[in-house]
């Protein structure tokens, strides 16, 4: 058994990823040719990992090969710009990250795309954002943290990933709700952000749940942005429990260019939801520190609309936008 597997893998390896065209079993009119799956981030990032996890299953369900391509840059805007400029025929899809796709068009004069240009297909994963300090830090609870921040305005440095991103918004929201002032130090991505925080170069972090779970032995998580207590971190309170009405998170899904025929979106939606509902996949996601979700196109659209209103309000109050 093992042997057969290895030999099979070898053959695949020899061709180094030669496209495997598994012929469609039934002659439906979609999909008939390989689907390009744009990841608007670098290989090795979380969006990439999720896509790689889905890729073999998608190929099985859809019966065509799925080619993952990276169009990283601009916090994702390059990839989404590319998507909205490709033909809306269902053969080009892209990862869809909230709040990126909402905030970029709001904040930049010309992000290259509008939120409405991206037609949501399915949402399969949520990553709540948590606030954490090192184990060696003097703050044991969120209350102590807030008290310190009030006494020393601007003295607490918080690591986050990027500007006008989920982390940045969480920071803005936190300041507003607690009436404090912190110093936000943006880094270019989750890895450098976590490294700087673990090295003690910033005092706190607004981090993704999976990073927090991964380093939970070294850090103290003060609060997390999930709606309810988070499966992988049952002892950590949510912001809501502590009286702060915020649920900062990063959500991952897929989208297609607006104008794609609805019946093709249906096919894609069904495929992604089947994978998202797979108990094995869900279990793996939870153990890695994610919240598995399975929202279809309709719910996803409503979710984006709700979040957009929320963000516009935060930005308006701060006089940014």
């Amino acid at each position: 058994m093992w042997r057969v597997k290895t030999i099979g893998a070898l053959l695949l390896g020899l061709l180094l990823g030669l496209a495997v065209f598994s012929p469609a079993l039934w002659a439906a009119d979609y999909p008939k040719k390989p689907i390009t799956y744009i990841i608007p981030f670098n290989p090795g990032g979380q969006s990439d990992l999720e896509a790689r996890r889905q890729q073999p299953l998608l190929e099985k369900i859809l019966g065509v090969s799925v080619v993952i391509t990276y169009k990283a840059g601009g916090g994702g805007s390059v990839g989404w710009t590319e998507l909205v400029n490709s033909p809306p025929d269902g053969y080009t899809i892209a990862g869809n990250n909230i709040p990126h796709i909402i905030l970029q068009p709001l904040q930049r004069e010309n992000a290259g795309y509008q939120t409405a240009d991206l037609e949501p297909v399915a949402l399969f994963q949520t990553t709540p954002i948590g606030l954490a300090v090192l184990k060696s830090a003097p703050f044991k609870t969120l209350g102590e943290f807030i008290a310190y921040a009030k006494e020393n305005p601007g003295a607490i440095t918080v690591a986050g990933s990027g500007t006008y991103t989920g982390h940045h918004l969480a920071y803005l929201q936190f300041q507003k709700l607690t009436n404090t002032k912190l110093t936000y130090v943006p880094f270019t991505g989750a890895a450098p952000q976590v490294t700087a925080f673990l090295g003690g170069h910033t005092m706190a972090i607004f981090g993704n749940s999976n990073d927090l779970v991964q380093h939970k032995d070294r850090i103290r998580i003060l609060a997390i942005g999930s709606e309810e207590r988070f499966a992988a971190l049952p002892e950590v309170p949510t912001f809501k429990e502590l009286g702060l009405d915020m649920t900062p998170s990063i959500d991952r899904g897929v989208c297609v260019p607006t104008g794609t025929p609805p019946e093709r979106i249906k096919v894609l939606e069904k495929a992604f939801l089947t994978i998202a509902k797979d108990p094995e996949i869900q279990e793996k996601m939870i153990s890695q520190g994610f919240v598995p979700k399975a929202l279809g196109a309709e719910e996803f659209r409503a979710y984006i609309a709700r979040k957009t209103d929320e963000y516009i309000e935060i930005l308006k109050e701060l006089g940014i936008e």
Binding site: G8, S77, V78, T195
Partner: protein, 513 residues
């Protein structure tokens, strides 16, 4: 520990895994050879295939691929003066001059052997010193990144010994180019000329192909077929052992370079491109014949390749122990580990100790296998340079176009690459080199983010100066930078009076790096 080790040896030597290692390695060499395709991309391509394999086999194949790319990237650097990946930038400095002297095979054997040394030393460090070294990466905060970038930029003094002024100007231009796109800190949209695609900034590979490949093509055409073919590859008997003997006589160089590679690999974010340039710089500084560098010396290649191969293992140290990838390629491997249900940290050395040790040991074997493959192939690779001019040029043109397209499947990248190429050609005519410019482009993001983050942290803590200058590791880097910047100036001063006339002539006639 010992148990795991023995298990690992038995795993590695099983024929099936050996075959996977070789396949991965060959794939890596091909990817490394083709400018525009990086090890990171190839690793990501391979990850889904490793799902179907056992974790051990999958990791062995990934390891082989990663190592292979580090061997392969020196081949185009030597033969056509274009680095296959950013890690081979410094290989062009001496590799191509050697090839022009007809010594391409020697250059390639040097590449193979010093990569082998770097890989073996790196693996030994990875195997024995991982836990204590892993904390080192965490010590690097924003001010340290800033000073590391400054230290990196001082290398320009070495790269552009004929005109330090123009070298630094090119470096500053590179820094300016690095700021194109969305500002990493404030989110400003900078220098994009209204093109949304430019928000991503200038891709390093696009710049590399543009600044190295296109000017190279145009210079070849300018020189003409007749002159070009005077400098052809000559085969020579016994060249293999002769080269190896020459290298073995320089153990300090090889070991120092390998340790530099490991050290820089540990620092998250800093990868082979920086390591190889720093190592090259040190090689020049410690050499008894610094004037030979850049004109074709084996030492230059040895320093570069030894360092850029040991970076591979260095970058895995924080990844395996802390879950912090030291390089983009390590990030992909981390992803593969996570997808196989393994979490970095102590668990990897206890619960999954057998798999982890097999993975680490696969690097040992990987570098040996790659050494054999690339040495055997060196003769044939070197022959490629003898392909008639009118066939070689179109092939390189095509590679540069398709390579710059492959990075993001974006035609704008191809256009930028071409414009950079024309600019690079013009700049070479004016006496500028591509090396410092690309160095500026590499160091720019580290310098900018380090500076601005330090400013933010400094303001929060009450003293910017204390953050910038008051930390021990920063002070070390500052001292290193000062030494590094003064060194070439002092040594240039010393030799200048003697060679003044000759140098100026050279500067005027200089066409190559």
């Amino acid at each position: 520990m010992l148990e795991n080790f023995l298990f690992a040896v038995s795993q590695i030597l099983s024929p099936a895994n050996l075959l996977l290692l070789i396949t991965g390695g060959i794939g890596g060499i091909i990817v490394g050879c083709l400018p525009g395709l990086t090890a990171t991309m190839a690793l990501a391509l391979l990850v889904p295939f490793t799902f179907t394999m056992e974790a051990t086999s999958g990791l062995i194949m990934l390891g082989g691929l990663y190592v292979g790319a580090m061997f392969g990237d020196a081949i185009p650097a030597t033969l056509i003066n274009t680095p296959g990946t950013p890690s081979a930038i410094a290989t062009t400095f001496d590799g191509y001059p050697l090839a022009k002297k007809g010594l391409a095979q020697q250059a390639l054997i040097t590449n193979a052997f010093s990569s082998l040394c770097g890989g073996v030393i790196g693996t030994i460090v990875l195997l024995t010193l991982s836990p204590p070294l892993s904390e080192l990466g965490l010590k690097f905060g924003p001010p340290e990144y800033f000073w590391m970038a400054i230290f990196g930029l001082t290398i320009i003094g070495t790269l552009a010994s004929d005109s330090i002024l123009k070298g630094f100007t090119a470096g500053a231009l590179g820094l300016l180019l690095s700021t194109v796109g969305i500002s990493p800190i404030a989110g400003d949209v900078r220098f994009t000329l209204g093109l949304p695609s430019l928000q991503a900034g200038i891709d390093l590979m696009v710049a590399l192909i543009g600044f190295f490949c296109i000017p190279q093509i145009l210079e070849m055409v300018e020189t003409g077929a007749k002159e070009y073919h005077i400098l052809q590859y000559r085969s020579e008997r016994g060249i293999f052992w002769k080269t190896i003997r020459e290298l073995v006589a320089k153990p300090v160089l090889l070991i120092r370079s390998a340790l530099i590679g490991v050290g820089i690999g540990i620092i998250p974010g800093a990868g082979g491109n920086i390591a190889s340039l720093v190592s090259y710089n040190e090689a020049v500084r410690w050499s008894k014949h610094p004037e030979e560098f850049g004109k074709g010396t084996l030492e230059g290649i040895a320093a570069t390749e030894s360092a850029n191969c040991s970076v591979v293992q260095g970058s895995l140290i924080p990844m395996l122990t802390l879950g912090i990838p030291g390089s983009p390629a390590a990030a992909v491997i981390l992803g593969a580990l996570l997808l196989h249900g393994m979490r970095p940290g102590r668990e990897l050395y206890t619960t999954f100790g057998d798999i982890t040790h097999t993975f680490i040991l696969s690097f040992f074997l990987g570098v040996v296998v790659m050494f054999i493959l690339t040495s055997l192939g060196s003769k044939y690779f070197a022959r490629m340079i003898s392909v008639p001019f009118q066939y070689l040029v179109p092939a390189i043109v095509f590679l540069s176009i398709i390579g710059s397209y492959a990075i993001r499947n974006n035609l704008l990248d191809v256009t930028i690459m071409f414009l950079f190429g024309l600019g690079g050609y013009l700049l070479r005519k004016l006496g500028f080199h591509s090396g410092p410019l690309v160095l500026g482009l590499i160091m720019g993001p580290f310098a900018e983010q380090g500076l601005v983050q330090s400013l933010l942290i400094g303001k929060a803590s009450g003293s910017v100066l204390k953050v910038m200058f008051g930390r021990p590791l920063s002070l070390v880097l500052i001292v290193l930078s000062i030494i590094s910047i003064l060194w070439p100036i002092v040594s240039a001063w010393r030799t200048r009076s003697v060679k003044e006339k000759k140098k100026e002539e050279e500067e005027y006639n200089s066409v190559e790096l």
